[in-house]
Symmetry: C2
């Protein structure tokens, strides 16, 4: 009768729950600062149970990180560069990324940026390939801006400078602050695009 609620949630997506909650915890406390027990407890699992879904902690990290980056790439690729001006295209990308990053929905983006370095071997390489794909998307957006005369440089180096400014928003963003994610995105676009005064 007084039976504690068991894992009565659709067990198909327990794995996804683990990924989502691990993303949040890794983000807050870092990979090594988070224990598998933390992860388990946060979705009412027993200490050993996550290992039913992931054979090791590294494998969970890999899932979190590639899952997040793949979602991010998919959403950016869904934006059509042809139907709008280079500036609008770029702005839409920055807005999408910023909102995804700062909202709860795609929490793993910020840690994709930093925690992947705890991966080793093949998982690490797989991640780096994805990361390259992601960077290429931004590089091509910058090149369109350049072709339109809106930025002076569009190479790997300037792309890294820009992506650093973009990705680190999550480290200082204050949801209680006066700026919304959208406003921050637009400020960044203005900052990157040379003023034509």
């Amino acid at each position: 009768m007084a039976r504690p609620r068991k894992a009565d949630i659709n067990s198909d997506n327990r794995r996804e729950h683990l990924i989502a909650t691990a993303a949040r915890l890794f983000l807050q406390k870092g990979y090594h600062g988070t224990t598998m027990r933390d992860v388990a407890a946060s979705i009412n699992m027993q200490p050993g149970s996550p290992f039913y879904h992931f054979s090791s902690k590294q494998e969970l990290l890999f899932a979190v990180v590639t899952d997040g980056l793949r979602t991010c790439i998919d959403r950016l690729m869904a934006i059509d560069p042809e139907s709008q001006s280079p500036l609008d295209y770029f702005r839409t990308m920055v807005r999408t990324y910023t909102v995804d990053m700062l909202d709860e929905r795609v929490v793993s983006i910020p840690l994709v940026v930093d925690e992947w370095r705890h991966l080793e071997g093949e998982p690490r390489q797989t991640f780096l390939d994805l990361r390259r794909q992601h960077e290429d998307l931004w590089l091509s957006a910058l090149q369109r801006l350049q072709a339109a005369g809106l930025v002076s440089k569009a190479n790997r180096l300037s792309c890294r400078f820009f992506l650093s400014a973009l990705t680190r928003i999550s480290t200082w963003y204050d949801s209680q602050g006066s700026l919304t994610p959208l406003q921050i995105a637009d400020e960044l676009v203005d900052w990157v695009v040379s003023p034509r005064t």
Copy 2:
């Protein structure tokens, strides 16, 4: 006769050795990924000995992080803004920071950027105060640029964008690569300063 070399180094600076080696390890593996045993072993100490110098691991982190940031601030403050143009002043600052960051001498700069969040309570606040000082230095340099018409914005937000690009250089810099720290610094300056075409 076959006595292993003991701690025959000037014991006055053992503490500094600990800070320097901890900085390197925290940088490589993160705060939680580094054990006090790692730190001890890297300078031929016994596992418990670091606790003679620092009462806890957090205290060591605090020393590493404030030590690095203070050194950084000191070196930036030594640059005289009056004796040179706003652009030269800014360039000198970026060069100094970049070289300090990528060289071995001031290794702790990059982790000052990220690992401070594992601090709590008063040490955390002390660090944040220092960090504000550091940011103000850059903000004032940007304001000089703005007054000279070389950048269009110079507020907290644009300062953060810029500092993100600057600080994250250390995460992608490849000492085997084709670019020297000085070249990277100059590219960043060019990227930030609006082209006056």
